[in-house]
C-alpha cells in the first residue's frame, strides 16, 4: 500500500453507528439465511413501515436521553394527539387543520411536561409518571373509552389517509419516506445547531452548562415540547396509517422506543446521543419481532428468545465498538 493510501485509511473513521449497523446485519443475515423469504424487498419495506412510528419517537427520545432525562408519557401524548386530530376531523374540521391541531396538542402536552419539571425542580421521569395517566385519562374521557374511526368517505378519500394508508402506489411506503426525512432533520438539529450542542452540554454537566450561560430551563422546556410535537406527529401519522386510534394505542410504546435508542448507542447517562443509531436500534427491535414469527418460535418461548437476542445484539455492538476503539 502506498503512503498516500495508508494515510487515507488512517484518516477514515467508521461512523459511530457502525457497530450497531453490523449487529443489525448479523441479525438480518441469520433470519434471512434460515428463512430466505424474509429478505424479499417488499417484506423488508413493510417491516420498516410497521416500525417507523416507534423509530421516529426513538429518534426524538435521543434528545431527552442526551440531556439525561427520560419521558414516560410520550405514548399517551401520541394517543391523545391522534384522538384530538381524529375527533376534530369527525366534527367537520378540515383534515389538514385537524392534523395541525393534533400536533399542536402534542407540543402543548410536551411543554406542560417541561414546565412542570422546571417549576417543580423534579426529574422528567417523575413528572411524566403522573402526566402519562393524566393524558391517558383525558383521552379516555374524550373518546368515551372507544375507538376513534373517521369513516366518512370525504375524510378517508383525503390524500392524507390515502398516502399514509398505502392506497397511493409508491415504491417505498410514504410513511417511511417521511420518517427518514424527519430523522435527517433530527440528526442535523442535534449535531449541527447551537440548540443541539446546548442539549448535549446540559446532559454532560448541567451545572457547568448553567454556569456557561446556557439557559438550561428554557432548553429543557423546549426539548420536552419537541418530544411532544414529535409524539403528536407520530399520533397523526398513526391515524393516517391505520385509519383509527384505539384507547390502547401507544400503551406499549415506552419499552421498544427507549430500547431502540439505547441499543442504538445513546447512553442513559446523558451528554451524547446518536439519532441514526436509534433508527438502527428500532430496526433491530423490529427484526427481532419479525424473526421470532418467521422462525416459528412458539409464543411461550418468544419473550425469552427476544430478550436473549437483544443481549446478543448489544454484545455484537459492544465487541465491534471495543475493537474499533482499540484500532483507533
Amino acid at each position: 500500500m502506498s503512503e498516500r493510501a495508508k494515510s487515507k485509511s488512517r484518516r477514515f473513521k467508521f461512523p459511530e453507528e457502525a457497530s450497531v449497523i453490523f449487529a443489525l446485519l448479523v441479525l438480518v443475515g441469520i433470519v434471512g439465511t434460515l428463512r430466505p423469504t424474509f429478505l424479499k424487498p417488499q417484506n423488508l419495506l413493510n417491516l420498516a413501515a410497521s416500525y417507523s412510528i416507534s423509530a421516529l419517537l426513538a429518534g426524538c427520545i435521543v434528545y431527552l436521553l442526551s440531556m439525561g432525562e427520560i419521558d414516560l408519557s410520550f405514548g399517551w401524548i401520541l394517543n391523545l394527539s391522534a384522538v384530538v386530530a381524529g375527533l376534530s376531523m369527525i366534527a367537520g374540521v378540515p383534515v389538514w387543520i385537524a392534523i395541525i391541531l393534533g400536533i399542536v396538542a402534542g407540543g402543548l402536552m410536551g411543554a406542560i411536561n417541561g414546565f412542570l419539571t422546571v417549576v417543580m425542580r423534579l426529574p422528567l421521569i417523575i413528572v411524566t409518571l403522573g402526566t402519562a395517566s393524566v393524558f391517558q385519562g383525558i383521552s379516555l374521557i374524550s373518546n368515551k373509552s372507544g375507538s376513534v374511526v373517521p369513516t366518512d368517505e370525504k375524510l378517508t378519500s383525503n390524500i392524507f389517509f390515502r398516502a399514509l394508508g398505502g392506497e397511493i402506489d409508491t415504491p417505498v411506503p410514504f410513511i417511511l419516506i417521511f420518517v427518514v426525512f424527519a430523522f435527517l432533520v433530527l440528526h442535523l438539529t442535534l449535531h449541527k445547531t447551537r440548540f443541539g450542542y446546548r442539549i448535549l452540554a446540559i446532559g454532560s454537566n448541567p451545572e457547568a452548562a448553567r454556569l456557561a450561560g446556557i439557559p438550561t430551563k428554557r432548553i429543557k422546556i423546549l426539548v420536552c415540547a419537541l418530544m411532544g410535537v414529535v409524539s403528536g406527529i407520530g399520533g397523526v401519522l398513526f391515524l393516517g396509517f391505520r385509519g383509527a386510534v384505539d384507547p390502547s394505542t401507544g400503551a406499549n410504546l415506552l419499552l421498544p422506543v427507549v430500547a431502540a435508542a439505547i441499543i442504538g448507542g445513546t447512553p442513559l447517562s446523558g451528554g451524547a446521543g446518536t439519532v441514526w443509531g436509534s433508527l438502527v436500534g428500532a430496526l433491530i427491535v423490529g427484526v427481532i419481532g419479525v424473526g421470532v414469527v418467521f422462525l416459528g418460535i412458539d409464543a411461550v418461548w418468544s419473550t425469552l428468545v427476544t430478550g436473549l437476542v437483544i443481549i446478543f445484539a448489544i454484545g455484537v455492538d459492544q465487541v465491534v465498538r471495543v475493537r474499533k476503539n482499540r484500532a483507533g
Partner: protein, 365 residues
Amino acid sequence: MTIKSRKARWSALALTTAMVLSASGVATPAQAAQKKLTIGFVVHVIGNPFINQIIDGAKAAAKDLGVTIKVTGPAGAEGDAQLTAVQNMAASGVDGIATSVPAASMVKGLNAIIKAGTPIVQFNGLGVGVNGPYVGEKSVESGRLLGKMVLDKIGGTSAKGDVIVGNCYPGFPVLENRQKGVLESLAKASGVKIVGPSDVKVDSAANFAAWQGLLAANPNALAMVGLCAPDVESIGKVNAAVPGSKTIGGGYDLTTGNLAALANGSAHISLGQTPFVQGYLPVYILVDSIRNKIKINKPGFIDAGTEIVTATSVIEPFKSAPLTFTELQKMSASLTLTRKYYDPLVKGYIKNWKKNLKPIADESA
C-alpha cells in the same frame, strides 16, 4: 489460487445454491397439493390463563387436522403490536391466520392482508369491518345474562343497594358490550346503584388490589361484577378476606383460579366463553376453507356459546352432555379431558360451521 480452482469453486457454489433453492423454494404442483398447511394463530396477550385455554383448543385442532400451527402475540394487549404480529405471520408465508381483534386500528391492515390472498378468521375480539368470519360469544347477551343472574342472587328487581362493576380494559369492544348488557339487566332494579364501572386492571396483582380497594370503599355492596378473566378469582380472594361477607361475586371465564373461588363459596357465578371452541373453530374454518376452496372473505358470526357455572350447576351450550362442577374443574386443567368432552361438538357444530354462520349483527343483538 489458480484460475481453474477459482472457477471450480464458483461452479460448486452455484450448484450448491441451485440445489438449496430447488429444495427449499420451488415446489411442483403435486408437491403443492400435498403441502402441509401452516396456520398462524395470533392472540392479544401472552401468558393469560384464559387465552392459554383458547391456544390449547387451536393446537388440538391443528393436531386433529394434521396442520402446523404457529402461535404468537404481544406481551401486553395493544392493537398495533398485534397487527404487526399478524403482518409478520402473513409475510412469513402462512396459509391462513386466526386472530383476535381487540382494536379498530387493526381493521384496515387485516383487510389488506385478506385482499392480498391470506384468509383471516377472528376470534374472541371482534373487529367491525374485517372481511372474515368471527367466532365468539354474543357479548351483549352474555352481559345481560350475568347481570340477570347477579340480580336474582341479590333479591331481584326489588333489590336495594350498591353493585360494584369493574372493567379491566376500558375501551375493549367486547368488554364494553358485556358491560352494556350487565348494566341493562341491573337497571331493572330501580333501587340498585351502580358503583363504577371502575378500571380494575388486567394484571392479576393489580386486579386484586383494585377489587380490594373497591370493597373497602363500599363495604355494604350487594355484589361485585367483573368483566374479565382475572376478576372472579380476585373477587373471591377479597370476599374471603372479609369474615362473614355476603357480597355476591360474579364474572367471566372458567380458569382454574375462578373455579376454585366458586368451589369455596367466595364467588358465586362465572360465565364461560367456551375457550376450546374459540380456539378450535377458527383453525377448523381456515383449514376447511383452504382445502376445499371455500371463500370466507365476508364478515359473519359463529356463536362459540356461553357456559353458565355456579358451584352447584354447570350449563354447557349446544345441548352438550351434562357436566358436574367437579368434572368441569378437572377439565379446566386437562386438554385431553377437554378434547374428549367436546368431541361430539367437533363432529357436529364445528364440522357444520357453514350452516352456523350468521350475520355479524347477531353478535351484539
